[in-house]
Amino acid sequence: MTDTPNDAAKTPRGTSRRDFLRTAGLAAGGAMVGAGAKAASPDPLITEVQPYASFLGEGVDATPYGMPIHFEDHVVRRNVEWLTADPISSINFTPIHALDGTITPQGCAFERHHSGAIEMSKDEYRLMITGLVDKPLVFTFGDLMRMPRVQHTYFCECAANGGMEWGGAQLNGAQFTHGMIHNMEYTGVSLRTLLNEAGVKPEGTWVYVEGHDASSNGRSIPMEKALDDCIVAFYANGEALRMEHGYPVRLVVPGWEGNMWVKWLRRIGVHDGPIESREETSKYTDLMPDGRARKWTWVMDAKSVITSPSPQVPVSHGPGPMVITGLAWSGRGKVTRVDVSVDGGVNWQEARIAGDPQSMAVTRFYFDHVWDGAPMFLQARAIDETGYVQPTKEQLRAIRGLNSIYHNNAIQTWYVNENGDAENVEVS
C-alpha cells in the first residue's frame, strides 16, 4: 500500500466505496506517525531514493496530446442511469467536487444530448440564416473565421441542475446535485455580427436556433438577447470545441439556461414570434402549485455550492485548519459576495472570493476554517451585483411547490460528522 497523497482515490470503476474505505484506512494507518507531528521513524519516501528520482521519465514525444495523469482517473463525468431512458438522450455531471479554480476542462465538462454527440467536420459545417431577413445567407466554417472575433468566459448551467432535489435530499454528492454546470472561455463571432450580415427586418422580433444533430431541438430567443451578448463560438478554453460540446460551432447564451446553448448550430431563423418548440413548452417550463406553468424562464438565478468538503471529498484529517471551497454564479451579472455557514444557517461569515469575478461566469470562493472536530452543517449563499441573495429551499418551495423540476437554486447543506464524512441533507 502506497501512501502517495491521494493515490488511493485511484479506485477502479466498479470497486465499491466500502472497498475503498478499507484500503484508505490502511493507508492512513501506515502513514500514522503520531500526534504532535513528530515522526517516530524516518519517512522512506524521503530517506530512500525513489524510482522517479533515479530513472528517467517519459520523453517529449511520448504524448502529443496529453490526458491527466492516471492518479486522477477518478476525476471524470458520471451519469445517473435511472434518470433517463437511455444514455443517448441523457445527461452526465461535471466532477466539480474534484476541480478547483473556475475554468472547467472540456474533457470533464457535463454533456447533455438529445440524440447523441455527432461527428461533423469543419469542412462539412454550414450555418444558415433564414426568415425575416433582407438576405437569407449560408456560411461555412471558414466564413466565420473571417469575421471579427470576441472572447468571454461564461457558465453554462442546465436548467435541471438540482432538479432531483426539490422533493428532498436525494443524490449524495456535489457532482450529482450541482454538476450540470461548466464554465469556459469562448472565442467566436458575436451573433449580432451574423444577423447584421443578413439584415434583420423590423418585424423580426425573435430568433429560433437549432442544431445539426438528429434531434435538431431548437429554442426561441428574443431579438434583444440575440443582439446583446450571444456568441457563435468555435473555441473553448483555447482550443476547438470538443465533439460533445458542439464541434465545430455552438451557440453561447450568457446567463441563460443551458438548453438554449444549441450545439452543432445549423440554422438561425428570424421570426415575428416564438416557435414554442418542444424544448420550450413540454420541457423547460416550470410547473407551479396551481397547475399552471411558468414559461420563458431563461435567466439562471444566483447560486452557489460548497464543492469541498462534500460527500465525495470528506474531511479526511483531524481537527485543525482546513479549506472550505466552492463555486458561485449568477445569470444576472457578477457574484459580489459569498457567505459560508458551518451551523446550518444560524450564523454566516463572508468567504474570500478568488480573482476578479466576471459577469455570468463562475466565481471561486474559499473559506479558511479551523475545525474543532464537532459535526458541521455546511452551507454557502451567493449574492450578486443586483442584490439577489440565494434563497433557501423552503423559500423556493413556498412559491414554486415541489414539481417545477427546473431552476432549483436553493442553498445546499452538507452534514459533516465527527469523522469528517459528509452527506447531503436537509435541515429544519
Binding site: R17, F139, V150, Q170, K295, Q312, H317
Partner: protein
C-alpha cells in the same frame, strides 16, 4: 418583454465596447438558395405557419404508430419502460406526481407536429413524410380522446384543434414575485434556531457508486472510517464473475470482449443482449453470430433485410464486419439507421462481444 429591457439595461455597460459596433455588412457568406431554405427551415409556428400541404388520418396513423413509435411509447401512446408517455394524465398537474403529456400539458398542436417531423423516430429522424406526420399526429389526438377514429388532420383543419392545456402557461414572473423577497439584506448572526437533520440522501440511496477522495497528512491525523462502513467492509467479498460466463468466454480474447463491451454503448440504445434481452428499436442479438440474418423472433425486419436473409445471408465474422462498417452498403434500404464503425479494431471487438453471447 419587460424582463429583456431590464436585462439590457443592466448589461449594456458591460457589453458596450466588448462587441464590435454594428457596421456595414462585411459581405461574407452567400445567398441561401430556395431549395436550401426549404430543406432546413421546417419550423412550425403555433398559428400553423410552416405546415406543408397535406393530411393524414387516424387509421393510417395507427399503423405508422405500431411500426415506428410503439416500441418506446407503447401501442396506445401510454409509454414503455422509461420512455415518455404521450397521452393521458389529464387533470394531474396539481398532483404529487403530475403526468405531463401532449393532452395534459402541451399547449400547441404545432409543437407535436414539429417535434415528430424533426426529431422522431428516435434514431431515424427526418424519415417520415409530411402526410405520415399528419397521420401520427392524428393518432396521438385520437389516443388522447380528442378526436374520433374517422378523423383526418390536414393543413386546413389544423388550427381548429385546441389542446386542453393551451391556457396553462404564463410568462416568467420571477422579477415580480421573487425578486422583492430575495433582494433583502441577508441576516448574518442568530438567523434561526439551531438546526437538525430532516432528510438525508443516504436514506433514499439512489446515488451511483463513486470513489471517496482522501489525502495523507504529515501529522497522521485521519479520523477512522465511520463504524457502518467498517462493519460492511468486513463482509465485503470480491466480486466474482459467474462461472458460466467465464466458460462461455473461454475461447475468446477477454481483452477483445471487454473492448467490445465498451464499444457496445453505441448499440445498446436499439439492441439488447443477455438474459431477458428483448426486441427494441432493433432486434435482440443473442446468438446472432452464425445465424441466418433475421433471426430474432417477433421483430419487424425491413423488406430489404428479409430479402437478404432469403438470399442466404448468414451473420459470420466476415459479413458482420462488412455490415458494421457500412450497414447501408451491405444491405441497401435496411432500417438500421447507424453510421457504421470506421475502426477495424473496434468492429473486431464488437463481433467478439457478440460472440460471447452466441454459444
Amino acid at each position: 418583454m419587460s424582463k429583456c429591457r431590464n436585462l439590457l439595461a443592466s448589461t449594456a455597460l458591460l457589453t458596450l465596447g466588448a462587441v464590435p459596433a454594428l457596421a456595414e455588412p462585411l459581405g461574407i457568406g452567400r445567398a441561401a438558395l430556395p431549395e436550401e431554405v426549404a430543406a432546413w427551415d421546417v419550423a412550425i409556428m403555433p398559428d400553423g405557419r410552416g405546415l406543408p400541404q397535406g393530411g393524414g388520418n387516424v387509421l393510417d396513423g395507427e399503423d405508422l404508430w405500431i411500426e415506428q413509435c410503439a416500441v418506446c411509447h407503447g401501442d396506445f401512446a401510454e409509454g414503455a419502460g422509461n420512455w415518455p408517455q404521450i397521452v393521458g394524465g389529464l387533470g394531474t398537474l396539481m398532483d404529487d406526481r403530475p403526468v405531463k403529456t401532449t393532452d395534459s400539458y402541451w399547449p400547441h398542436l404545432s409543437t407535436v407536429w414539429d417535434y415528430v417531423n424533426r426529431s422522431m423516430p428516435f434514431g431515424a429522424a427526418q424519415t417520415l413524410t409530411g402526410d405520415e406526420v399528419y397521420a401520427i399526429t392524428a393518432y396521438i389526438l385520437y389516443s388522447g380522446g380528442l378526436v374520433d377514429d374517422d378523423f383526418e388532420l390536414t393543413h386546413e383543419n389544423f388550427t381548429s384543434i385546441t389542446l386542453p392545456n393551451a391556457d396553462g402557461f404564463f410568462v416568467d414572473d420571477r422579477d415580480d414575485v421573487e425578486l422583492p423577497l430575495f433582494t433583502q439584506e441577508p441576516c448574518m448572526s442568530d438567523c434561526r434556531a439551531p438546526v437538525s437533520i430532516s432528510a438525508r440522501a443516504t436514506d433514499i440511496d439512489v446515488t451511483p457508486e463513486f470513489p471517496i477522495i482522501r489525502f495523507t497528512y504529515s501529522d497522521g491525523s485521519a479520523p477512522a472510517p465511520a463504524p457502518t462502513d467498517t462493519v460492511e467492509e468486513a463482509s465485503a467479498e470480491p466480486e466474482a464473475a459467474p462461472a458460466e460466463e467465464a466458460v462461455q468466454m473461454a475461447s475468446l480474447d477477454p481483452a477483445l470482449v471487454a473492448a467490445g463491451e465498451a464499444a457496445w454503448r453505441q448499440c445498446r440504445t436499439c439492441h439488447q443482449l443477455g438474459d431477458g434481452a428483448r426486441n427494441g428499436t432493433g432486434p435482440q442479438l443473442n446468438g446472432v453470430v452464425g445465424q441466418a440474418a433475421g433471426h430474432a423472433d417477433g421483430f419487424r425486419y425491413s423488406p430489404a433485410l428479409i430479402e437478404a436473409s432469403e438470399g442466404g445471408l448468414v451473420w459470420t465474422e466476415e459479413t458482420l464486419d462488412a455490415f458494421l462498417e457500412n450497414p447501408a452498403g451491405l444491405i441497401p434500404r435496411n432500417r438500421m439507421s447507424f453510421r457504421g464503425v470506421r475502426s477495424e479494431d473496434e468492429r473486431a471487438a464488437l463481433i467478439a462481444y457478440l460472440m460471447s453471447y452466441s454459444n
